[in-house]
Each structure stands twice: as structure tokens, then as C-alpha cells.
Symmetry: C2
Subunit: 135 residues, 2 copies
Amino acid sequence: MTLQPFNIGGLSRQTGVNIETIRYYEKIGLLPPPARSQGGFRQYEDRHLQRLRFIRRGRDLGFSIDSIRALLTLAERPDSPCEGADQMVLLHLDEVERKIADLTLLRAELRKMKNCCGRVVAQCQIIGSLVAPRE
Amino acid sequence: MTLQPFNIGGLSRQTGVNIETIRYYEKIGLLPPPARSQGGFRQYEDRHLQRLRFIRRGRDLGFSIDSIRALLTLAERPDSPCEGADQMVLLHLDEVERKIADLTLLRAELRKMKNCCGRVVAQCQIIGSLVAPRE
DNA sequence: CGTTGACTCTGTAGTGGCTCCAGGGTCCAT
DNA sequence: ATGGACCCTGGAGCCACTACAGAGTCAACG
């Protein structure tokens, strides 16, 4: 538990979130604006730290800003049903699985392409398969 | 072999590339500007079709616009050595493999998260793991 | 008390690769 | 001559940041 408020740099170090990104999150209303010092420096408290860690973790898991916004709203109402969260995870999981499938196909294509002729472009398999894909 | 020049809509249909995207490719110098009709319509020829198909295929394979530019330059010089193309494919393959690995980890995390409690947010595993990740 | 140097502020613009739109002009078949 | 499909340009918007300029603040040291 941090008792003293800290600057944006401290918050950045404690969360691994870029300073510019923190300010950006404030601008788009994801992180509440903190108090300011007399000179105008942002003074963060523990609640900001908690919230930013939540956001960071959500981003690391690949959730969009909008999804995180929804998850934060949910998290703030401990008595509300959590189907919404469940749905979002399932949706996102689907998306991730689709991406993995796509990239796996891509990888296969690229593996077919490599092992180039080693000579000149005219015989090059890579260029060739871009001009007309091998079936 | 198409003999008559065709409009942007025709080029779009033959390649599956959006009209707006075609104009964008022209603007960034990826597709050479075609002749124009008296009224100012773009009139494409076979070489544009070939080139755009190459671009499309490169994009489908996940290459960046810059990489495609380089590959096109290579493709235009049939006598040049094709190490460059080889390098680019290998680099891109590495990247794709890294992405697959990342997404696979992500998928595992998301699978751990799902099967939510089915009740309220206070006991919700999803929200919980965003607040403090399970180890 | 003054200076130094690390830190922070605001506002704006840029990234990639498109996509969308408004407000107009063109083309061609009827 | 007209209708409807097509096309034009220029600019803004998308996502989630990132980079920068030019200025101001803070705290420790001498």
C-alpha cells in the first residue's frame, strides 16, 4: 500500500505503462484525472495504480480499450451479474483462435516460399509465387 | 489477356481490392497512375492488373507495404540476385512465428479465465484475474 | 539562496493501412 | 433528355498509441 501520492513517472515505473500512454488514457477517460501539485504535476494515489494495472493486464490479454472500459464498469459493481464478462472473454477467445488459425496458414505458405533458388529473380520462387501463387 | 482498358471498378472486381484502396495505392506510389478518359476516369491495363494482384497477394501473406515495394522493385529486375527476397521471407516468417507463439500463450490465459463463476462480479474469476493475475 | 538536472506540462502531429464521406462530375443505355 | 450506375477529389476518421517542441517544476546540492 502506497501512502504518499506519486508522480506520473512513478506510476509508469510501477505499471510498465508509458508516460505518454498514461496521459492518453486520462484523455480518453479511461483513467480518472488525479489531483495536481501546485505546479501542475499529476499526483496519483493507490486507486490509480490499481486501475492502471487492471487496464494494463487487459491490454496484455489483447482486449480493446472499449472492452476494458466495459470490464472496468463491471468491476466497479460487485453485485452485478458477470455474464457480460463471460461473454467478452469467450468472444475474445474466439477471435484469438481465429487469428492463430490464420497465421498458421500463413506460416505454411511462407515455408513453402522459402528455400529460394539462390540465384536470380527470374527463377526465384518467392517472386514467382507472388506473381502467380502455386496451387 | 484483357485488351480493352477498364475502369477502377473493373480492376477492383478482378482483384478483390477495394476501390478506395486502389486509389490509395496510387497515391502512395505503389500502383502507377493509369491513363485517364476524357472525363477523368482512370483507365487501367493489363500491367496494372498484374501488379495489383502481386500487391494483393503480398498483403494477404502479411507483408508490409514497404516490403511489397521492395519485392516489386526486385521483381522488375529479373537478372538481379534474389537474396533480398529470401531475406524478407525469412524475416517475415520469424515474425509470424513469434506472433503465433504470443497468441498461443494468450489463448492459454483466456482459457484459464473462462468458466466464470456464473454468479456476480464479486466472485467473478475474470474480473479477479484482471485485478490480480493468478499465478 | 542559486543552480543544476531530472522530471513534467500542454498541444500537436505522425504511425499503418486503409475506410468513409460529401459534393460533385461522367458514361451510356433507353 | 434522362436516369442510374459509376467515378472524381479532398479531407477526415479509425485504433492505440508514440514522438516531439518548447516551456515550466521540483528537489538536492553547494
